[in-house]
Amino acid sequence: MLLDIVQNTLDGLAIGSAYGLLAIGFTLIFGVMRRLNIAFGPSIMVGIFAGAWLHSQWSAGMIPVFLATLAGAVLASAYVERISFAAIRGDAALASMASSFAIWMQLEEAVVHVFPGRTYAFPTLQTIPMLEIGPVFLRPEYLAMFLTAAALILLLQWILTRTRFGLEVRTLADNPEAARVSGVNVAQVAFLTFLLAAVIGGVAGFLIAATDGQITPKIGLWATMKGLIAMVIGGLGSLRGALIGGLVLGVVEAQAQWFLGAAGREIVTYTLLFLALVMLPSGLAGRADAGARTEALRRL
């Protein structure tokens, strides 16, 4: 029993790191634009299908498939940004969300037309043998998922804190008015942030598809749901919260799957979302940040 919990926690942390990447993608876009891009998951889905297509046509290896996934996700995201965000006024948050929903349907239909079957094969890492550490097992694809996610988060941290572009992203998230009077090219930074989020989401999508070995167009809906739930649990607008939310969601799902089965897992996931909304409306990490902000306001 205890061993099961340890094993589930390890598996859950791996999947959760991919959820964390999805939530970070949502959070980046939300932080800079103050608008929700619900077509984020479907944009990643386009990338995954681009990778699967390369794989089935020319039996391409992991690296070309990986690059094709990123390229597809970035192109689809650029399209979403132009149509649903750049072309819509910044204060019309609802219009952007509704528009990104329409683009979601469009992307999904397009993929269903080009790939008429239900499921497609995706290359996997399962050729590497299972790692055995004492009584627990580490699936190689899970280990790869966790390490890649960790490396990407460190890279993102570096970009945000050490580069001028990262500083611009942070100014926009912190105080958009002040960013504009400081000479930030808001439209350009928003576009680049969208592409950065697409790369992060593309990596997450690739890792997930390479673990499952097969994909359907529903992975778009799935990625949007997982990313949004992880973001809400962690706290809207906090990158640290997004990561924590993803890990918590991954671990809870893995435990529920093991002890309660697939249907039980869904019930537990949505109960977790409900509890997060009711009991921790600012999320796991949001609370501390909100406290700091109140403190700062009080000292003015």
């Binding site: 500083l167 942070r170 960013a179 504009r180 009077v181 000479g183 930030v184 403190e295 700062a296 003015l300």
Partner: protein, 239 residues
């Protein structure tokens, strides 16, 4: 010099600026006075490009800047110190200052060569360089907002109500800073509620009432008391 001619700006159907014309002369402090709701902040946001004027022109040394996007206007050297300070509360003081040099990023050294000078000018900011800006006092945040604007090497500094919400003794300190900037020969356009203090420092002033410039001149030429009364209360009917 910035020449503003017949600028009109509206919020939806409500006209806030109804044809404003004024000049901001090089190397001096031009002050804009006026009661609440006269359109002073609207004028600042319009010059900064954040609000769009629907007619009129703004020429910086002969070049039209009306219609440019905010970041382009900053690169032209028209830099705003916004009302209520508007710093980046969750970023360090140093990062706030670096953010001020965005428009100069293509220069050698990324335009950060003034950082030392700004920290020299505001020793309190140097002490708190690695602190989050949200933890600073109001006066320190105002200094940070001024320092951030200086990082852009402004030709014209637009200052919107620097005294808002600050204790009188801090206001004096901020005005000493503004006076020092003026004495260095910088061009400053100051919007201020505190007419009494502003007139002590201004080389030239304008009075904005209900979206029109109704009066202008040099502080020595007019009766301060009457001017201040109009600046606070708006034009009175003959009494």
């Amino acid at each position: 010099m910035l020449e503003i001619r017949d600028i009109r700006t509206s919020y939806g159907k409500i006209a806030a600026l109804k044809g404003v014309s004024l000049d901001i002369a090089d190397g001096g402090l031009t002050c804009l006075l006026g009661p609440n709701g006269a359109g002073k902040t609207t004028l600042i946001w319009t010059i900064a490009g954040i609000l769009k004027a629907h007619s009129g022109s703004m020429k910086l040394d002969g070049e039209e800047i009306s219609g440019m996007r905010p970041h382009s206007i900053v690169s032209k050297g028209v830099v705003t110190v916004p009302e209520n300070r508007l710093v980046f509360p969750e970023m360090t003081v140093k990062d706030n200052l670096i953010a001020g040099a965005f428009s100069r990023r293509k220069e050698k050294g990324g335009g950060l060569d003034d950082l030392e000078e700004v920290l020299e000018r505001f020793p309190r900011l140097r002490e708190r360089a690695n602190q989050e800006a949200g933890t600073l006092s109001g006066g320190e945040q105002q200094m940070l907002a001024v320092g951030r604007a200086l990082m852009a090497r402004p030709k014209i500094l637009l200052m919107d109500e620097p005294s808002t919400g600050l204790a009188p003794i801090i206001v004096e300190e901020i005005f000493e800073i503004i006076g020092r900037l003026r004495d260095e020969g910088r061009t400053i356009f100051l919007v201020e509620q505190n007419a009494h203090l502003a007139l002590d420092y201004a080389d030239h002033f304008y009075l904005l009432e209900q979206g029109h410039v109704t009066f202008g001149g040099r502080p020595g030429e007019v009766d301060h008391d009457e001017l201040i009364q109009r600046a606070y209360l708006g034009a009175r009917k003959a009494s």
